[in-house]
């Protein structure tokens, strides 16, 4: 308002518009107009904290158990809401819109330059920066891979002359870096076994990129089956592109980057197949032995030969929550059984009286208004839900 009044005052006096505008803009402070963005969640969290704290303090002054329970609950749930806030989410439609164009551009470049070779994911020994990822595409269909000395010297170069080829950054390189960040390690310092054991948990549970992932290794071939990936819409579009079966989508490319770093050998994507509705993606990777040719010559004992299922299903930790529920239920039911036995033997009470009667003034009191039946129901619910979730997890194996 003040700045507006100044503006009007100045124009009335006949001063130039430029001068008045200068004064107007000077008085406009961007910081003063900064809007406070508060989300509904944060408002709810602070409301819980404040109301809960007030209730707790009041309960101490007036010695009220009900107020204490209310206050304790509000403070706890406020803290929990603050703790479990997720990272910022982006709409899936935005992801689908941004993933496709870079691969389409890559496709256009490769087709325009008439490069016929298969994309080869280069291991760290070909690059100065071991954390980086690069793919090499030869001009000719059966072209040779350049020697590591050449790529080390000209890593930032796009085109190679002898042999003729192109060096590109794969679409999955940043996703692969994210995998490493989440696992708190570099794939270059691990091996194939580590990747096959940790990748499923990372993709399914931690990052929730896909619903399920199965990895099967056999000599120098690795088959991956991904169910309901976040990139399935991008798969459908990219599937029409010439380079797609060779370079892969961001997810399959990221896995290729991880495999080449872990094995220390060049990797190619031999085959990519998607089911009709796009729900299942199957990719076959081949690890190349010799660096001069494409012919795979890997010793069988270097790789795992038996199929590897989702290891996470056999670990104890995922069942911990269900076991804890069962344990809590068992403890409560044991306590109910003990109190019932105690009352029946010592006081000769009837079971209906024990379960449904008030415990005020009793030797074993359970709290205000709480009866044995309440403990029994809570214990039973906990025990059954724990058993059900445990059995459900086991049945998925």
């Amino acid at each position: 308002m003040e700045s507006r009044d100044v503006f009007l005052k100045k124009t009335k006096k006949g001063e130039s518009n430029m001068e008045t505008l200068r004064i107007f803009n000077k008085q406009r402070n961007p910081e003063a107009r900064k809007k406070h963005e508060t989300s509904l969640t944060k408002a709810a969290i602070w409301t819980f904290f404040i109301v809960g704290s007030v209730a707790l303090l009041t309960s101490i002054v007036y010695v009220s158990s009900i107020l204490t329970f209310i206050g304790l609950g509000l403070v706890f749930w406020g803290a929990l809401l603050l703790y479990i806030q997720p990272e910022q989410y982006t709409k899936k439609a935005i992801l689908d819109a941004t993933v496709i164009p870079p691969i389409a551009t890559l496709n256009q470049i490769i087709q325009e330059l008439d490069y016929k070779g298969k994309a080869i994911y280069l291991p760290p020994k070909y690059l100065k920066d071991p954390e980086a990822s690069k793919i090499y595409i030869s001009k000719h269909k059966d072209g040779k891979l350049p020697k590591p000395e050449l790529t080390l010297k000209h890593e930032n170069q796009l085109f190679f002359q002898n042999p003729q080829g192109i060096l590109l950054t794969p679409p999955g390189t940043q996703l692969s870096n994210l995998f490493e960040k989440r696992l708190d390690t570099s794939f270059a310092k691990t091996d194939l076994k580590y990747v096959t054991q940790n990748m499923p948990k990372l993709i399914v549970e931690d990052l929730e990129i896909a619903e399920n992932i199965e990895i099967e290794t056999n000599y120098n071939t690795i088959k991956i089956r991904i169910t309901n990936s976040t990139f399935k819409e991008a798969h459908k579009e990219d599937n029409k592109l010439y380079v797609y079966p060779s370079i892969g989508c961001p997810l399959s490319s990221a896995i290729a980057c991880a495999l080449t770093k872990a094995t220390g050998k060049p990797v190619t994507i031999e085959n990519m197949q998607q089911s009709e509705e796009g729900k299942i993606l199957e990719a076959t990777y081949r690890i190349l032995g010799k660096t001069e040719t494409f012919l795979p010559e890997i010793k069988p004992e270097e790789l795992l030969t038996e199929p590897i299922q989702l290891q996470i299903r056999k670990r104890f930790l995922p069942n911990l929550a269900s076991l804890l529920l069962t344990a809590i239920g068992s403890i409560l039911l044991t306590e109910v059984a003990w109190v019932t036995f105690y009352d029946m033997t010592l006081w000769g009470k009837d079971i209906a009286v024990i379960f449904l009667g008030s415990r005020t003034g009793e030797a074993i009191s359970l709290g205000i208004g709480i009866k044995i039946i309440h403990h029994f129901l809570i214990g039973l619910a906990s025990f059954l839900s724990g058993m059900l979730t445990y059995l459900r997890r086991r049945s998925k194996v």
Partner: protein, 70 residues
């Protein structure tokens, strides 16, 4: 002025809270398919396990008291 809840009231409250959190974390686990609930599921699971373990600690204290008194 004293805190109105006894140790056993808090123990019961911990039990109920642990049950609610454990069941919730199991139901929204990505293990059973993708859920669209925008919360950090791993942190919820951690919170549920912590509350559950706290309840078990109170149970151990109770058992210890019974053993000491006999």
């Amino acid at each position: 002025m004293q805190f109105p809840l006894s140790f056993w009231d808090i123990s019961l409250w911990l039990a109920i809270t642990a049950i609610i959190l454990l069941i919730t974390s199991e139901l929204i686990s990505p293990y059973y398919g993708k859920s669209k609930i925008p919360i950090n599921k791993q942190k919820l699971r951690n919170a549920a396990l912590i509350v559950g373990i706290l309840f078990l600690v109170t149970v151990i204290i109770r058992v210890y008291e019974i053993i000491i008194s006999t």
